[in-house]
């Protein structure tokens, strides 16, 4: 579905849309406060951006270094070209260990690859252990936000869901009570699990270790209770050295939720005693995207979600309106990079306000990328023909001063005399909720010419003020006349 259509459906429930907007704006405000408390914030962003650019510039070398160091620590490293290969590798490991029941901590990569569905098809039960992800899993949905997967769901809806699925009291909405119920439920799942799957926030080439950040500690239980741990990471998660980690950990939680640091930053260096640790490095088009001078920088993303929280469109349209694993500004550039034909409306789900680029902790030029995407989509013929034709027509009008003048004259003079019901017809999308601008009798060029020689002298004269007032009066009288016409019609 087109983003605009899905967004309109979301907004059709204005109360929910406002609630969603305010909940996320609250997170953005918390982020501002946390960032303000770090005097070197802008320097941190700059350094983080440079580290990422450096790493991406020699990613192949760093990946090989990481593979060697991780293997030396006893990690079994796998390389997956695409989502299908990733899913096959994970399934194979699980089947080799006769696993029937898997717990999983949050990983947008496994969402991207559709791992849960693949494993379930092969008779393996997967339980997401992040509270928000568990909620969306129980509802049969996908996360609507990369950090806050269930941000689109209200407390009462969670209460109803838990009542049905976990046997909590009917009508319960107390977050403490519901969280406790989820906790008890998940404890059983952890104890029952034969294997645990986690994502990776940062992998360190120099040490072969990796870090998983959570607030619920569920990644630690996922990785430590079962003897088999599989970690899945996109190849862009790499950083060169352990000392670079501090830069990103300081930025990540502050940008994401306004916390100084996530409650748990768990470091993994090899398998637990008597256990196995597998790590799957996934490309899935990343190396192709990396080669793009326009869109490659999107791979610097550390998945903090700050661009979603600040995006005025995301806040008012909800994550599911993007119809993709990753929503919001970062999703609007990454998804077309994966498949432009599947996501041609996402770069247009943006007013080009630029807030995303300013809030991004690694300084991705998001709004610029979305602007550039539009050009690419038009070139690839992925924008509806009528949009392209209307822009070509507008271009023809605007390249010729005479046609422009004539079109302007017609618009104003015809528009002014049209009855309201005709002016605000079904095709006038602007006029659904807005009045059209005033349609004055004279244009600026005409009024300016009437000012006389004053214009070119660059001095003030007595008459000038009255000329200006004249312009204002004329401008207003145009609108007034239109109103009178309307009144007659009504």
């Amino acid at each position: 579905m087109k983003h605009a259509q899905a967004a309109a459906e979301f907004i059709a429930d204005p109360e929910r849309a406002h609630w969603h907007d305010q909940a996320l704006w609250f997170v953005r405000a918390k982020r501002d406060k946390a960032a303000q408390a770090v005097p070197e914030w802008e320097q941190l962003r700059q350094v983080a951006s440079q580290i990422k650019a450096h790493t991406m510039g020699q990613l192949a070398d760093y990946l090989e270094q990481f593979d060697a160091r991780a293997s030396a620590l006893g990690v079994v490293v796998h390389w997956a070209r695409d989502a299908g290969e990733h899913n096959r590798i994970v399934l194979q490991i699980l089947q080799q260990h006769q696993v029937r029941h898997v717990v999983k901590s949050k990983s947008m990569l496994t969402e991207e690859c559709g791992l849960n569905g693949h494993l379930e098809q092969h008779g393996i039960e997967v339980v997401d252990t992040d509270l928000g992800e568990r909620i969306v899993q129980l509802r049969g949905e996908h996360p609507s936000h990369i950090v806050l997967p269930a941000i689109h769901i209200k407390k009462a809806e969670v209460g109803e869901l838990f009542h049905q699925r976990l046997g909590t009291d009917a009508g319960a909405t107390d977050p403490k009570y519901l969280t406790e119920a989820a906790r008890q439920h998940l404890r059983q799942e952890f104890l029952r699990a034969d294997a645990g799957i986690t994502g990776v926030n940062f992998a360190i080439a120099e040490t072969g270790g990796f870090v998983v950040c959570t607030n619920e500690g569920n990644a630690d239980l996922t990785a430590s209770l079962p003897k088999l741990h599989i970690a899945c990471m996109g190849i862009e998660k790499l950083i060169p050295r352990a000392r670079d980690l501090g830069v990103f950990l300081r930025l990540l939680a502050r940008s994401a939720t306004g916390q100084p640091i996530t409650s748990y930053s768990s470091h993994f260096h090899g398998p637990q005693p008597g256990g196995e640790l597998h790590l799957v490095l996934v490309d899935n088009k990343r190396s192709e995207i990396l080669a793009s001078s326009d869109f490659g920088r999107a791979l610097h993303c550390i998945r903090c979600g700050a661009c979603l929280n600040t995006c005025p469109v995301y806040r008012r349209s909800g994550g599911h309106s993007y119809g993709a694993t990753i929503a919001g500004p970062i999703g609007s550039t990454l998804n077309p990079s994966h498949d432009p034909g599947a996501y041609p409306t996402l770069p247009y789900a943006c007013s080009l306000c630029g807030s995303c680029s300013e809030v991004c902790p690694v300084k991705i030029d998001l709004d610029h990328q979305l602007f550039t995407w539009r050009d690419r989509l038009v070139r690839q013929g992925l924008v509806p023909w009528w949009k392209r034709v209307s822009m070509r027509a507008l271009g023809l009008v605007l390249r010729s001063p005479n046609i422009y003048r004539l079109t302007g004259w017609l618009t104003r003079n015809v528009g002014r005399h049209l009855p309201r019901w005709l002016l605000y017809n079904r095709l006038n999308v602007w006029g659904r909720q807005r009045e059209i601008p005033p349609l004055p009798k004279k244009t600026f060029a005409e009024l300016y010419a009437e000012r006389g020689p004053v214009a070119s002298r660059g001095t003030q004269s007595q008459g000038e003020g009255s000329q200006l007032d004249e312009g204002r009066r004329l401008g207003e009288s145009g609108a007034g006349e239109a109103d009178r016409e309307n009144r007659d019609v009504q």
């Binding site: 983003h3 605009a4 967004a7 309109a8 907004i11 907007d21 501002d32 914030w41 802008e42 005025p312 469109v313 008012r316 247009y348 943006c350 007013s351 080009l352 807030s355 680029s357 300013e358 809030v359 602007f371 690419r376 038009v378 822009m391 070509r392 271009g395 009008v397 605007l398 390249r399 001063p401 422009y404 999308v429 659904r432 909720q433 807005r434 009045e435 059209i436 601008p437 005033p438 349609l439 004055p440 244009t443 600026f444 060029a445 005409e446 009024l447 300016y448 214009a455 070119s456 002298r457 660059g458 003030q460 000038e464 000329q467 200006l468 312009g471 204002r472 401008g475 009144r487 019609v489």
Partner: protein
Amino acid sequence: MRVGLFIPCYIEQFYPQVGLATARVLERYGATVEYPHGQTCCGQPMANMGCSGAARPVAEHFIDLFEDYDYVVGPSGSCVSMVRHHYDGLVKDRRRQEKLCKKTFELCEFLHDVLEIRHLEGRFPHQVGLHQGCHGLRGLGLGSPSERMVPHFNKVRSLLESLEGIRFSQLERPDECCGFGGTFSVSEEAVSCMMGQDRLRDHLRAGTEVLTSVDMSCLMHQEGLLRREATAGSGSGHEGKGLAMRVMHVAEIMVESA
């Protein structure tokens, strides 16, 4: 100092008084203003849509008209941002494009940075709600956006602040987008209008009497919403008891206050 007056198409057609006010402000502060005839548009609507092929000749025409002036000044942060940031790669001759970009300014930016004006003569005893157009704020750097952790500054506000009697609304969201966004206002109509209504609510709550901006396009969108509210409120298809606040471009405030 010969200043080429850059009047964006929708101001030329719908808001001529804003163009006249701009000319008058520039003249008052000593610029020799010329309005090159045959102006149309900067090309932004097409470029925004991704139709650079349609935008190119319009941008070339713009350069032909304006390249001989010492400065090019226009009352729109968005259109100036288009010329400054998106002509690169759009027009053929890079040298001409670079030269033009360096001398094209938004009105307040020109007053503040080129003419180095720090004080406006005049009195404007009203509570003003300053809408920060995104392309002026984040594109041209007219102020420090709320996302950035840098020392606070705002060129537009600091100019207006020097007017006697002026007060400013304290907004909950000081620089959130109003949702105009050019073609976005139509292609994402539902989101666009909700964004605009949210901005207006913030202004009403803060007690804004006069809503102003360096961008008439943002104001056109918000005024459209306000006027519809007034129309709907009167229940008769024509405007009832007037708008909840006055809507003025900053140039109009500068003229009216003088």
